[in-house]
């Protein structure tokens, strides 16, 4: 518990099984405030399940998950965890296709969440400025009135990152942000994420090794639902157990 107090996210002995299949086996991990962490691992290593546990989609069979010291995430639902300051970007870009780019950001904007509050809500000047600011960051300012459905794949990924920023989270969970992106977009995305990591903690799940190298942060290797190795990319790349299960293949 001592460790939990000073950390932003604290997972200890988390296990999840689906119909006998152990997706997570006693997974433990600590994310410090302001830290950016890359998570790698082969398919089925439990990366997505781990994100599901943190965001409240899946309840762990055992183990502790604490946010910002003493908030027990295992007792909360998705909406309250999101309001707490944990944002999630999915592997497949999921934006609201029949809303405009502007409305997508507006919906994600930190603030009113209750039904009757949104019913009578009027967008304030401050909110408009904030949306403009985010649109500039993700370079979609000129497409603010486009339906999200008409954006390209890369643009949707960026819009989703913009929605995450609008939520003003303390911790961002980002699942394969560069999947399907061009090389130029991948480099730009790494720059954007590093920019974000200056003020927020970020967990990035990624397969793309050159992207992880661009990020240049501490790496955690997952295998069969638990942590196999942790350290710099060079250190884990040199770890014989890692080479055996993942990098060597």
């Amino acid at each position: 518990m001592e460790k939990a107090k000073n950390s932003l996210l604290y997972l200890d002995g988390v296990s999840v099984s689906f119909d006998g299949f152990k997706a997570l086996r006693s997974l433990s991990m600590v994310i410090e405030p302001g830290e950016m962490r890359a998570i790698i691992g082969p398919n089925g290593a439990g990366k997505t399940t781990m994100m599901d546990v943190i965001t409240g989609k899946t309840k762990p069979d055992e183990g502790d998950v604490y946010f910002a010291g003493n908030t027990d995430l295992t007792r909360m639902d998705e909406a309250s965890i999101a309001s707490l300051g944990i944002g999630r970007k999915f592997q497949k870009p999921t934006v609201f296709e029949s809303h405009t780019v502007w409305d997508n950001i507006d919906l994600a904007l930190a603030g009113v969440r209750k039904p009757f509050a949104t019913l009578f809500h009027r967008t304030t000047k401050r909110e408009i400025d904030r949306i403009d600011e985010i649109l500039a960051t993700i370079r979609l300012g000129d497409k603010r009135n486009w339906l999200a459905a008409n954006l390209s794949h890369g643009q949707k990924q960026w819009l989703e990152i913009g929605m995450l920023l609008a939520q003003e989270p303390q911790l961002l969970l980002v699942d394969e942000p560069v999947a399907g992106m061009t090389d130029a977009e991948t480099v730009q995305t790494a720059i954007l994420l590093k920019e974000i990591a200056k003020t927020k903690s970020v967990i990035v799940v990624e397969h793309d090794m050159s992207f992880v190298r661009d990020l240049d942060v501490k790496v955690t290797v997952l295998h069969q639902g638990s942590v196999l190795s942790e350290g710099t990319l060079d250190a884990v790349s040199a770890d014989p157990t890692v080479i055996e299960v993942y990098l060597g293949r």
Binding site: T55, K57, D77, E78, A79, S80, A82, S83, G87, R88, F90, T94, V95, F96, E97, S98, H99, D103, D106, L107, A108, V112, R113, K114, P115, F116, T118, L119, F120, H121, R122, T123, I138, R139, L140, K143, W146, L147, N150, L151, S152, G154, Q155, W158, M163, Q167, M181, T182, A184, E185, Q188
Partner: protein
Amino acid sequence: MITAFIFRALDKKTWAVLIILLAVGIILPVLSIVTDPSSAFHVPTYLIALLGKYLCYALLALAVDLVWGYCGILSLGHAAFFALGGYAMGMYLMRQIGARGVYANPILPDFMVFLNWTELPWFWYGFNHFWFAMIMVLAVPGLLAFVFGWFAFRSRVTGVYLSIITQAMTYALLLAFFRNDMGFGGNNGLTDFKDILGFNIQAPETRGVLFFCSALALALGFLICRAVIASKFGKVLIAVRDAESRTRFIGYRVEGYKLVVFVLSAMMAGVAGALYVPQIGIINPGEFAPANSIEAVIWVAVGGRGTLIGPIVGALLVNFGKTWFTSGMLAEYWLFVLGALFIAVTLFLPKGVVGAILARTQKKPDESKAPPAVSPIQASQAAEEGA
């Protein structure tokens, strides 16, 4: 707060719809009452009653569209809310009969005397007051929707499973209302109405006013739906429809939104039922039939779900078709026609009649101004190179 909420909804299209509905609501009854039956402008009373019925159906369709077209909740049980609103009105109309019934009992409606009941059941108390009945028109469907939605949405029942349990709900009510012991007239329902607020329910003037009230209720329903959709709440509804779990991860408690919109929709359906009953002159358990709910869904699909004009147009079109078709010799084939219509609309007009017209009239931004195949980064790089 409320006025800002309403004013935000009042764009040109909304004004146009409201004015058309109110104009029709005033002009037709006036033509029916003032003009001579031989005049070319005369509107016969039977037509007023028929069109009034269509307007009630249109309000029901609007209610279905609000939950289905905007929030993705395919309710196959909305006729239950419609019928409950109708029963609340029917109970008031029964109490209005008073001693003029066949058995001349000043308190008990005829069917209760027939069943040898000696006193009015507790749930009939208060229905001699019009205001009480009107509250019940909103409260009973609203309460049922609240209880049903509370359990269904909290348990995250969605999609086809939700549709099936809404269907089960209306079927259960159908069976319950068929029982004489329920105290709602059993199989025969409530009928033989005489007065409403002291006016003869058969009189052309009363029918004209009822027609106007139906048009007014539809206009108000449209305005409320428009205001809801134009608000941030409406944006959340569409977000839930398109990507429910994403909406949760942004921090919206989806079940709360579904519950609010479901209750609102049920109340609208209740009002539609309450206006339907005095114009039709009867309410019986047949109104709970699962087929009625499905028919309402077809109106919405034909007109165009996810637009607010669509369900109104759909309800009017399909019901004109039904009246025309079932009055001819092809009457027994109507259900086949309805089924074929639904399949055809699903296949060829997935956005309904109104959706297809909108897609044609609006210049296609999707095609002509198609997003360039370059990413924002490439575009900005190109811009930088150019500068």
